[in-house]
């Protein structure tokens, strides 16, 4: 799967990172084109109805939007190459610190969701496989199918109504209380959005873990392990899981991408101050620099996650070599 030239793991990782450059370049062209070709003018949206024609024209010029598209693209990508993502149009703030700040919140949410997905998904999947066709299996797979099918905005609003409004266990939105902010306060705020976002992934992971474990559990060496008198727990942990883990890691990589994407809706429902809720606003405002910067950051994350997944294979499965 990953045999490319000699040089071992570091060289492989470096080559993969270099290959990411054209990918990101393609992403930059695509996002620039799609954004600028979409109808709507940031100056007009910003000014709304109350501005004069002269003011719209003047703002258009001051924002550099009078230049031909190619010139605008070259100017922008030139800045990006120097590490400057420009300034947001309506915010007037530099894009890079802005997206990095928001990205931290998104990462926290994604990590929380991933933790929930991994714990719930693996446990449910393993239990289902080990106790195949039991009521536990049927129940967890039933829940999993439902979980995959529920849209996050619906789950989110339901959780707000039940756990924030009725039971008052958790806050309804935001990342911290307006008048209090500590680690526990943030964790308290994280619970509902992370559960919302993590549920669908947990369900997908559970289904895959189940089939993956089922496949291994029928292998001869598992029977041998049992035959030599190992405890069932040891058989599952040491012999089954270790061999079932690679497809799970692959899906986990895909799920991280899915979570980053799903975060957009979850962040909007819970007003989580992440990249997703910021991007929704930026797209509505046709804030070209901010959307472009945000998309580039997300694309970079995808590339890095994919690479990390590929490298993890080798750690879990020594048979895989990168040379």
């Amino acid at each position: 799967m990953a045999a490319v030239g000699g040089g071992g793991l570091p060289a492989y990782a470096l080559r993969r990172l270099l290959l990411a450059v054209p990918v990101l370049f393609g992403v930059s062209v695509l996002v620039f084109a799609v954004l600028h070709l979409a109808p709507g003018d940031p100056a007009a949206i910003m000014l709304g109805a109350q501005a004069t024609k002269e003011d719209v024209q003047r703002l258009h010029r001051d924002l550099g939007l009078d230049e031909p598209l190619v010139v605008q693209y070259v100017t922008w990508i030139g800045q990006v190459a120097r590490g400057d993502l420009g300034r947001s149009i309506p915010l007037g703030r530099a894009v890079l610190p802005e997206v990095l700040l928001r990205f931290k919140a998104t990462l926290l949410l994604t990590a929380g969701a991933l933790a929930i997905a991994v714990v719930l998904g693996l446990v449910a999947g393993i239990v289902s496989a080990v106790k195949q066709y039991s009521w536990l299996d049927r129940l967890s797979m039933g829940v999993a199918v439902t979980g995959v099918s529920l849209p996050v905005f619906w789950t989110g609003i339901m959780l707000i109504i039940v756990f924030a409004l009725q039971l008052r266990w958790f806050p309804s939105s935001g990342m911290s209380s307006p008048y209090d902010s500590g680690v526990t306060d943030v964790l308290w705020h994280l619970v509902l959005p992370a559960v919302t976002l993590g549920t669908a992934s947990a369900a997908a992971l559970a289904r895959l873990t189940r089939s993956s474990v089922l496949e291994i559990i029928r292998q001869d060496y598992v029977r041998s392990a049992r035959a030599k008198g190992l405890a069932e727990r040891a058989v599952i942990a040491r012999h089954v899981l270790k061999n079932a883990i690679n497809p799970i890691i692959t899906v986990l990589g895909v799920q991280i991408g899915f979570l980053l994407g799903g975060a957009i809706l979850t962040e909007t429902v819970f007003s989580w101050p992440g990249l997703g809720s910021m991007m929704v606003r930026a797209i509505q405002a046709r804030d070209y620099p901010l959307v472009q910067g945000g998309v580039l950051l997300i694309a970079t994350t995808f590339v890095v996650v994919n690479l990390a997944v590929d490298l993890l294979y080798a750690i879990f499965d020594p048979r895989i070599r990168y040379d």
Partner: protein, 518 residues
Amino acid sequence: MKTRRAWMVTLVILAAALASGADAAPPKDAIVIGLLAEPVTMDPAQVTDLNSARVTKRIFEGLVAQELGSYKLIPGLARSWDISKDGLTYTFNLRPNVTFHDGTPFNAEAVKFCYERQLNEEGPYYKTGTYPYVKGFLGNVQSIEVVNPLTVQIKLKAPLTPFLQYLAHQSLFIYSPDALKKYGKDIVKNPVGTGPFKLETWEPGVKVVLARNDQYWGGAPKIRQAIYVPIIEAQARLAAIKTGEIDLTIDVPPDSLDGLRKDPNIMVAEANSSAVWYVALNTRHPILKDKRVRQAMNLAINKDAIVRDILKGTAIVSTGPMSPVYGPFREEKTTRYPYDPEKAKALLKEAGYPNGFEVTFFVPESGSGMQQPVEMGTVIQAQLLAVGIKAKIQTMEWGAYLKKYLDGPDMAEMSWNPSIGDPDHVTYMLLSSDRFPPAFNAGFFQNPRVDELLRKGRTTVGDAERVAIYKEAQRIIADEAPWIFIDHGRQIIIHRKRVQGFKLHPNFDLVLSQVWLQ
């Protein structure tokens, strides 16, 4: 076992988080306000959206101010002013001993500096921002002179009566010149004004905290802190106010109002606003150019039903561009269009369209001040069909819509929340032939007498004369029916009972100087 220990730790953390959360109650002297979105910018010269205005107007002030609850002008940073007989020279006597939050003095130089930053494209600070309204509000300014440290004189190129109201708009508010020189483009997140509150912290996406300005010339506000949090989702906003996480919020879904009114902890405050919601009709369209057709379309729509059933009483029926907040300037005796499909059909027949006709009808999916555009559009479509007019709806996302709206659609929904308290801003801006697209007279309405009146209204000094001018203009406009007049949205805010002294302002501002907490 290791995993079991990990579980225990997780549970303990969660329990601790829950317990700590349950204790988090709002402080006694801080108000928490839930906005739909966080402010975009805190440079008043660059503010274009309501959320930014609602926060920056606490930090900054203009030379003149509006009396809370009306558009009546009162002294702001200027103690008094004098307008020359020819309407060209405005002399402002500034308030003495006022300092900016950074300790620098407010004076005539600061006023000149702030206005010239926007106006002078060659000036050293022009490039510290982009100024959305400078041509509209300052384009007519000839010169700004510092007469002495506490007197500033502004000369206009031509008389323009609404100019004084422009000075009460946030884009002409005064900020510390030293702060601008220090922060440059980053002035957007470093506001330094003279107002009753100053910025304490701004965590993007999380909250904005304003602290009381104890040195405020008008007396320090009663509340110590104003905390603004963005809550995008309407249900989350409702949950937050019901649980007491926030004290005050806006844009309540009309459906939930009845429930809120029954909640003993929550107060609903309502007032008329200057907003107007209408369907612009293209007066150059071969069929819609006939006044009788436009009148028939007005008669065909049951506006009371729209206000009652879709907007749940959060609006009042409109009879022209100006809502009741314009007081004496509003004309009551205009041509009215009660729901009368039979009369509509008769008018259509008289105009030569007994079997109706077909038009396209632009409807945005959502948008600033657009209320419930799709539902309202659907009802309008159905009621037009009942008199034979087939309106084909085209829906668009708001950003795309704003552009398409100015391309001369047959008919299109629009709303207008004038930020300026002068009648000029809701008549001339929308219905003068000087304001054809790309300005906002999207229906190309042109009536020589209305044009004459609206131009005269902008240059006439003296309320009595202006009242007569705008009343006549409204009578002609109502009769000409350039729009299907639908409604004037009411502003509705909900707050916890502990919030006292809150009063709504017609331009959707959330003024806090007089508010206290129980």
